[in-house]
């Protein structure tokens, strides 16, 4: 499943289409061996089940798409919160003496850069601790703790930095938790079975009605393939074709590189 959800969108479409078409071809071959009378009887029965099977498939895939899209949207929200926490830490550090402010912001820029460029691939491989962002966050924690132990930093600035760092750590943990969640395999398998049953039903009905009505079955075959591809595509926010956007992180990294949080730099 992990392999499937990490495929590019074109390959994913090709795979699901091939799977469904091959399955359908097999059904056609199997059904064509039945007698005409048998096919007529089966067609009449199958027609009665079309609505039920269609509804079942729609409910299952609808539920999965909704769940996975919610996860993707949540991942995007978490990334946005992470960018906001970086920004808050940047603003809070501006209250420190310049050598400390510059150091914190430089580390933040490196951290944000690492998140925007390599973190997703580390999450995809389930090796979040191997990402440079992991070491970057540890460095930031150490620096803020050290500043907190000094007498000179303004207490408000240190408190604000601690809050921001807590948010950063929390959002990172949340992101890792989201990345570790997979598509519910049983539910997806049920959807696949429902989809194949719907296709089989449609083929039986089409064979009874005649070749001229084959396009109805073809339409259902394509729709099932697209539905399954959509579920797979959106179910991996950090490796699939529809990933959580890194734009907020890249944006805040650029702001830090442009010294936007250093109050003494004329803009």
């Amino acid at each position: 499943m992990t392999f499937l959800t990490g495929l590019p969108v074109v390959w994913l479409l090709a795979f699901t289409l091939a799977f469904v078409v091959l399955g359908s071809a097999g059904m056609v071959v199997a059904l064509s061996r039945a007698s005409k009378e048998g096919r007529d009887n089966a067609g009449a029965t199958a027609a009665a089940y079309m609505t039920a099977l269609g509804s079942l498939f729609a409910i299952l895939t609808g539920f999965l798409i909704n769940t996975e899209y919610s996860t993707l949207r949540h991942a995007n929200e978490v990334v946005g919160q992470e960018a906001a926490a970086i920004s808050q830490l940047g603003y809070a550090s501006a209250g420190l003496p310049p050598p400390d402010a510059v150091l914190i912001q430089q580390r933040l820029a490196t951290y944000a850069d690492a998140l925007a460029t390599v973190e997703w691939s580390a999450l995809a491989d389930n090796r979040s601790e191997s990402s440079p962002a992991f070491a970057g966050l540890a460095g930031l924690q150490a620096q803020v703790v050290r500043l907190g132990s000094e007498e000179y930093p303004p207490p408000d600035a240190v408190a604000s930095m601690r809050d921001a760092l807590q948010d950063l750590t929390q959002t990172r943990r949340e992101r890792i938790a989201i990345a570790s969640q997979g598509l519910p395999a049983a539910l997806f398998a049920l959807s696949v079975i429902a989809g194949l049953a719907l296709i089989a039903n449609a083929i039986v009905v089409a064979m009874r009605a005649g070749h001229r009505y084959a396009y109805v079955a073809i339409g259902i075959i394509v729709l099932v393939a697209l539905d399954l591809a959509a579920i797979l595509a959106i179910s991996a926010p950090f490796r699939g074709p529809f990933q959580a956007s890194t734009a907020p992180l890249a944006g805040v990294a650029q702001e830090l590189r442009d010294s936007a949080y250093l109050p003494w730099v004329r803009k």
Partner: protein
């Protein structure tokens, strides 16, 4: 007809193939070196416009100071501390700048143009030189180091030059900056101090051959004139006879004597003036170039009551970072308290240079860096209200970064020296260059 057309098509195909082949070979050549492909456009156009810092290579920063003087040693210690603090800790271990070591190339300015010329050549022989912190003496910078480094587009940031001429728009060299105050401010505060005591006949002893001394003296006379005072300048060139200088001062019948000359002459002239009954009770003021521990030790009780002007040290004490972190680190490194005011300016100068390098460079930290020299100057010019140890710094086109300075007058033996716990401040005033421009 058809054959001719086919031949033409073959010819076009061959030509297109040749063009593509040439294009490919050209692009392969351009990209053959990772330097060429990674460098910013400005660096590829003109390699001398940038400093390339390869992986594992250090960033070279020059220091050009007079370490035979207390203020030079004070600055040098502060610059070392700035490099130490690049990792956010005063732990005696140098930090890194953008993942690269910072190597300080230390040279002496000798407080003279001749020594400076030799030293600056040494520094300029390093092609990777990014910036220079110095000089200690204004005479080492004015028309010497400021011109030489500006010509090579290398910023020279001085923590100790105060001569007004260095940032006079008519003489200013574009890559010259300073974090120390402009003596126009010190002269105006000194003149205001004299006016507050109702001393109007003011005699300045200055060295006409030293830009610091002569320009401070002249600025003081100009400021005294604005206060309705009368200023007279007596020359005290290097090697002059102190007795002759003191006699010339006494002949002006002064109400206050201001010495802008440097040691050892200032100490000798002061001793003669304080020993002569005719001038012993005339209030005497010395500028910060002379006001140090040596003066007090060599004059002994004769120094009592002598005024010294310089930056207001009480401001430093208001800075928590300075008080609780920097001073301890300074004491650990130097083994004593800062002997002059210039450690704060030097720490700020180093920080401004580091900050500008960060903003003028491209490349990943720890990887290959390109530092654009013009961007470095622009980065310094974008510094506005930088909260340094020495005060708020705003670098302007004329090179002055200390726009608003608080100058204090101290009375001996309560000068702000290393051994003095609570300096005896008798006058203090904050003035800005903008205020002085408006007054002109």
């Amino acid at each position: 007809m058809r054959r001719a057309s086919a031949r033409r098509q073959v010819a076009w195909a061959v030509a297109a193939a040749v063009v593509v082949a040439v294009g490919l070979s050209g692009s392969a050549g351009a990209a053959s070196g990772p330097v060429a492909s990674a460098a910013p456009k400005a660096c590829r156009r003109d390699p001398s416009a940038c400093v390339r810092v390869g992986i594992g290579q250090p960033i070279y920063i020059g220091t050009l100071l007079d370490r035979t003087q207390l203020n030079g040693r004070d600055s040098s210690t502060a610059i070392d501390l700035a490099v130490d603090y690049l990792d956010g800790q005063f732990n005696g271990v140098d930090g890194t700048l953008l993942g690269h070591r910072v190597v300080l190339l230390d040279q002496e300015d000798g407080c003279s143009a001749a020594t400076t010329r030799v030293s600056q050549q040494q520094l300029l022989s390093e092609p990777g030189l990014v910036a220079v912190i110095g000089t200690t003496c204004s005479s080492a910078a004015l028309g010497v180091a400021d011109a030489a480094f500006s010509e090579k587009h290398i910023p020279l940031v001085s923590p100790a030059n105060t001569a007004p001429g260095l940032t006079d728009p008519a003489k200013h060299q574009s890559y010259y900056f300073r974090t120390s105050w402009n003596d126009k401010i010190q002269a105006a505060v000194d003149a205001n101090f004299a006016a507050s005591r109702k001393w109007s006949q003011l005699t300045v002893v200055s060295n006409p051959d030293d830009s610091y001394s002569s320009q401070l003296g002249q600025a003081f006379v100009d400021a005294a004139r604005r206060n309705q005072g009368r200023g007279t300048v007596v020359d005290g060139p290097k090697g002059a006879d102190p007795q002759a200088v003191a006699a010339a001062v006494a002949a002006t019948d002064p109400e206050m004597i201001y010495l802008t000359i440097l040691p050892p002459l200032c100490i000798d002239v002061a001793r003669v003036l304080r020993s002569d009954p005719a001038t012993a009770n005339v209030p005497m003021l010395v500028s910060e170039g002379c006001a140090d521990e040596n003066f007090l030790q060599k004059l002994g009780p004769l120094s009592d009551g002598v005024y010294a002007s310089g930056p207001d040290f009480s401001f430093y004490g208001e800075n928590d970072f300075y008080r609780t972190a920097f001073l301890d680190a300074y004491r650990r490194r130097a083994g004593n308290d800062p002997p002059t005011a210039f450690h704060a300016q030097a720490f700020d100068a180093a920080q401004l240079v580091f900050d500008a390098i960060r903003r003028a460079s491209s490349g990943k930290p720890g990887g290959e860096l390109y530092i654009e020299r013009r961007k470095l100057r622009t980065a310094l010019l974008r510094t506005t209200n930088y909260p340094g140890l020495s005060g708020l710094l705003t670098c302007t086109e004329d090179g002055d970064c200390a726009q608003d300075v608080r100058i204090a007058i101290y009375e001996a033996p309560g000068w702000p020296t290393a051994s003095q716990a609570s300096p005896d401040k008798v006058f203090s005033q904050s003035l800005s260059l903008a205020q002085l421009r408006a007054a002109d």
